[in-house]
Symmetry: C2
Subunit: 275 residues, 2 copies
């Protein structure tokens, strides 16, 4: 790369950091990249750090020492997150979203790239300091949320299939009981998809009693993997306490009431905002 002026270097460094979240970049790498002294790079990083933190873009962590460098973590401030979730909840409450059975139609919203970027950044903020190797979700509607989160945390995604027709070599299948409907279902994951002893963040779009997520946790045990966290976009509050299979999770929104006659719903920010 040709030598850049400070103004141009700030632009380039900003895009370099933004496109490499949760990645340690040494000052030497930056100094070599721009043909600049490390002292100049440090000054640039100080400017970028201040803007990133003041404007709610994220944190810039500087690690000192020979193995040191700088790491960008996308972080959404809680007041920004709450404003965004209030807006999302209002959109989710539209009466034509009530489906037979009290389900919530949100497929269209999960197709919007700007909403996904926000929600991904929100999950990445909530789980930013956990040790996570991989994100797991189950097809189909959790997939975009998992990828949006993975992009911010810079870790891969594995997708659990709802059948056992996996064409990817040997697979582990388990049966699980959907907590709310009490039906027995199957999910499976290819053996080669997940390394043993991985730390896994589970992301899903909707949770009622938690049967599907409990199924994913049971599947993880088969791989000697560990649950590093559970994040759901919307949880249903319409579950008796003793029916709830899961206690330790983060929800971004909570569906507290559905009136099937009037198609009125009440959706509020989830438990993430209580802490």
């Amino acid at each position: 790369m040709k030598k850049l002026k400070r103004s141009a270097r700030l632009v380039e460094m900003t895009q370099y950091l933004l496109t490499r979240p949760h990645t340690l970049i040494s000052l030497t790498a930056f100094a070599d990249r721009y043909g600049s002294a490390k002292s100049s790079i440090s000054e640039d990083l100080a400017i970028i750090k201040e803007v990133f933190e003041e404007e709610g873009i994220g944190e810039l962590h500087t690690l000192a020492g020979a193995a040191g460098g700088v790491k960008f973590k996308p972080v959404m401030p809680k007041h920004t997150a709450l404003a965004i979730m209030h807006d999302i909840c209002a959109r989710l409450e539209q009466p034509d979203r009530v489906l037979p059975g009290g389900y919530l139609y949100m497929t269209d919203m999960l197709g919007q790239p700007d909403l996904l970027a926000d929600v991904g950044k929100l999950f990445a903020t909530a789980f930013r300091d956990r040790q996570i190797d991989v994100i797991m979700t189950v097809e189909t509607k959790g997939i975009p949320l998992a990828y949006a989160t993975a992009a911010c945390l810079n870790i891969p995604v594995v997708i659990v299939r709802r059948d056992n027709k996996v064409t990817e070599g040997s697979a582990v299948s388990i049966n699980y009981v959907s907590g709310s409907t009490k039906r027995i279902q199957t999910m499976s994951l290819a053996r080669r998809a997940l390394k043993e002893r991985s730390n896994v963040l589970i992301i899903d779009d909707f949770m009622k009693a938690g049967g599907t997520i409990q199924g994913m946790i049971d599947l993880l045990y088969e791989f000697n993997a560990t649950v590093a966290g559970v994040g759901v976009f919307v949880e249903s509050g319409d579950v008796e306490r003793e029916e709830r299979l899961l206690e330790d999770y983060i929800s971004l929104a909570k569906l507290t009431a559905v009136d099937m006659k009037t198609k009125q719903m009440n959706i509020v920010p989830g438990n993430y905002f209580n802490s």
Copy 2:
């Protein structure tokens, strides 16, 4: 937002543009956001434009006039794209990726956020000047590619289901014949998922004869929608010319030969790089 110095403003504007691709932002909006004169904003944009274009980040288009402003389009230069695809092809050629039936195991690679960001930017480059309202894909493996492309083009995604158990109100289902296996299969899309007369970009992970993609095109006709383009990650060259159902598509890689005995494959950059 408090008034920023030029250096800080360059950092903030860079992140603002990068997170809003294919979105027209008026100079007035920038001037208001930073409490700066439009002339200063124009100077900043000139610096950003030069870095974005020199470093292969993308194009910054300036539209003059009252409705004018600036629009960032992510663009990957062809030589960068070719280097990335050569690397991807080499990874795809690993012998343990040959599955029974001559299929190619690439689920792990489609879980990597950095690879997806590259491939999404590549598709977004190839289709950047077409009029596109929405990206369509079919579950499951095309989904991450569709979202990665959608993030760069800033348009929504709709996902066609492989069954007709859509719980999203009335749906349109069609039967299609998988070109290579000659089996009849079903795919469906909820009525509310796609507006009539949309311009649709189809993205998928793998194409052999093109039966699945032809199925999606047939489904589009049911919505009076138009195909704005077809992009596939890997096409199989192992198809007779008269078996190929589709002529007009862009492929990023081409699987030209599989030897099932030695598990040797040959994968080369696709037709995108011939033009």
